[in-house]
């Protein structure tokens, strides 16, 4: 596709607009991400990273500004279209794994397909199993989430985010509560899918080591973009720009 995968233009977000306790979180974000980009989103706690990710993921609308996803202006789209666009173009990986606890690993992976395309077929099931094997969980497909370790759950979440092969995956601190070793594994897994399938990743992380391994680092401070560096500059600057 020509043009960027997504484009944010003067995006603002406030909570409680019109009430006495209006909280301004984002103050005019301009950001553009190309297809296949592997980007880290860093910034201090409360700077608005999750909020930005939710806006990009079409989970909530911005207060003002323009957001184009896959060339479509999203502000004017009705609820129904937003849902369809989200289902077809974005995969989510959340910090706390957020798997559906009542469904097994493979059922979690099948869920986006079930929602978007209807009843599960044998082909769907085989594909989901292959995807779980790909993330190293071939022998855990029928486990419930609570029977899996944190790292394993996050692998299921990644397989689920990738199950409909979306052009973009949003990951909010996917390694946030994993030990260093598991965090490295999960990161490597995302990197591998990025390189194999060309899926763009936008990853919120507090870990400078991991951020440094991305193509690009976007830094958010107090609701504004305070830094945006690509590949070459990263290696040297990452440590100092990282805010914890």
């Amino acid at each position: 596709m020509d043009g960027p995968l997504l484009e944010l233009d003067a995006i603002r977000k406030s909570y409680g607009t019109g009430t006495e306790v209006e909280t301004r979180v984002l103050h005019g974000i301009d950001l553009s991400i190309r297809a296949g980009e592997f980007t880290a989103l860093v910034g201090p706690s409360g700077s608005g990273k999750t909020t930005l990710l939710n806006l990009i993921g079409l989970l909530e609308p911005p207060t003002s500004g323009s957001y184009r996803l896959l060339g479509r202006e999203t502000a004017a789209l009705p609820e129904q279209e937003i849902t369809l666009l989200r289902a077809s173009s974005i995969g989510f990986v959340f910090q706390f794994h957020h798997l559906l606890p009542a469904f097994t690993a493979v059922e979690n992976v099948l869920m986006p397909g079930l929602i978007a395309r209807g009843p599960v077929t044998a082909v769907d099931r085989r594909r989901a199993q292959a995807l779980l094997a790909d993330v190293g969980l071939a022998d855990r497909v029928d486990f419930l989430p609570r029977k899996l370790s944190g790292g394993q759950q996050q692998r299921v979440a990644i397989a689920r985010a990738l199950s409909l092969a979306p052009p973009l995956v949003l990951a909010d601190e996917p390694t946030g509560n994993l030990d260093t070793h598991s965090a490295d594994d999960i990161f490597a897994l995302m990197r591998r899918f990025n390189e194999q399938a060309g899926t763009a990743f936008l990853i919120v992380t507090h870990d400078p080591r991991l951020a440094r391994r991305c193509d690009r680092i976007v830094q958010l401070v107090d609701g504004l973009i305070a830094g945006d560096r690509t590949n070459e500059a990263i290696a040297t600057a990452a440590d100092s720009t990282m805010a914890r």
Binding site: N54, E60, R86, L99, P101, P112, I115, V120
Partner: protein
């Protein structure tokens, strides 16, 4: 299986305890409604059958004779008339054959039996009893009061000098089948006190009726009561019992004769039945309300507990409509399960009730009449109530902000 079913069933399975709770609630509700309805319907049908078993549903009599003022006031004068009610004599219905034929053609009317009835005396030896002489065509009248089924001795035959009397009158007169009794009326010119043979004894289930009703042939009554060629009354049964009064009024307006329905004659009974109907309806309403509130409150809590999952499902592309349908479906599934269990439960309750509660003589109070329509209606109402109860929680689930739900 489509998304909504997969998720609804899994949620229900996951929340076993809550699911069991509301299924039990719905089952008990359905069972109580079916039980009460069947019981009351059965008891009412039984009561009506007893009361109307020996009774016409509508009785047609000649229009009442009224006195009319004869004098018209002259101009400038005022007249203060004093009109006295006339004594009503025994008369025949005008054109009764034509009227009977017309009634037979009228839709909603079952059997039609013209009769001649009036007061008289039954005499045997020294005994003399005031009775109500009823001249009937036995075949026609049997369709009204089913006397053949109520004979305890002899036959229901009233031709040529035969008479059929009640058990208690027979006892009073000391007469048995085959004995002769005499009948007497006060009518002028009537063939006074002929002797008749008792052909049969009946038991109408009421002592008063058994003591006063005396069935004779149609022509015999005509001559005894001095109504040659006439009929003093037409007895009618109707198809819809509780439509009798409306039908009677309609026919009265059309024919000009006097029509009295059983609903007027037994107005106390009708009032009692209506009161019972209202009570039952209220009980049903409250049971339904309680079950609905129970289902709704459990589902409301459920939605709150499932906020996170709902958020995840929305993030994965489930529309508001899909989420709403998941919870509506849960309500419907619970209702279907509840009405299935409730139907079985109510049948069991009715069975046990009829086993335990019996008449003084040990016979069954009434016949168990399990109506399939009732079960189907109860199931449909249950599903509607389940959907309705789930509507509010389902809406709140659909409106949940996924971004907020996921932050938790």
């Amino acid at each position: 299986m489509p998304f909504e079913w997969v998720v609804a069933l899994r949620f229900l399975r996951e929340g076993r305890f809550q699911t069991a709770l509301i299924v039990v609630g719905a089952s008990v509700g359905v069972a109580v409604v079916i039980f009460i309805t069947t019981l009351v319907t059965g008891l009412q049908a039984n009561t009506i059958k007893r009361v109307l078993g020996a009774q016409a549903h509508i009785v047609v009599t000649p229009r009442q004779e009224v006195s009319r003022p004869q004098l018209a006031p002259a101009a400038g004068e005022t007249l203060l008339p004093r009109i006295e009610a006339r004594a009503q004599r025994l008369r025949s219905i005008d054109q009764w054959q034509a009227l009977a034929a017309e009634l037979e053609r009228t839709p909603g009317i079952g059997a039609v039996s013209p009769i001649v009835s009036g007061a008289g005396f039954a005499l045997r030896g020294d005994a003399s009893k005031a009775v109500n002489l009823i001249g009937v065509d036995p075949a026609r009248h049997d369709r009204i009061i089913h006397l053949t089924d109520k004979m305890i001795a002899g036959r229901f035959a009233v031709q040529a000098g035969d008479v059929v009397i009640g058990r208690d009158l027979a006892a009073d007169l000391g007469a048995a089948v085959g004995d002769r009794i005499r009948l007497q009326t006060a009518q002028q010119g009537a063939a006074v006190s002929d002797a008749y043979t008792v052909a049969g004894l009946f038991d109408l289930g009421s002592r008063a009726a058994n003591r006063t009703s005396v069935f004779v042939g149609f022509r015999t009554a005509q001559s005894l009561l001095d109504l040659p060629g006439g009929a003093s009354e037409i007895d009618v049964t109707v198809d819809r019992l509780f439509g009798a009064e409306a039908l009677a009024q309609d026919l009265a307006a059309r024919t000009g004769q006097s029509f009295d329905s059983w609903m007027k004659t037994f107005d106390q009974l009708v009032a009692a039945i209506h009161a019972q109907d209202i009570t039952t309806a209220l009980i049903r309403l409250f049971v339904i309300l309680i079950v609905a509130l129970g289902i709704a409150s459990v589902l409301v809590v459920w939605v709150v507990q499932k906020r996170r999952e709902i958020g995840i499902l929305r993030a994965m592309g489930a529309s508001r409509g899909k989420i709403q349908r998941v919870f509506l479906l849960q309500g419907a599934i619970v209702a279907i399960a509840g009405s299935t269990i409730g139907s079985l439960l109510s049948s069991l309750m009715l069975f046990v009730f009829l086993k335990v509660a019996r008449n003084a003589d040990g016979s069954q109070i009434f016949d168990l009449d399990l109506s399939p329509t009732l079960y189907v209606t109860a199931a449909l109402v249950a599903v509607a109530v389940g959907l309705l109860a789930a509507a509010v929680p389902a809406r709140s689930a659909a409106r949940l902000d996924p971004a907020q739900a996921i932050r938790m």
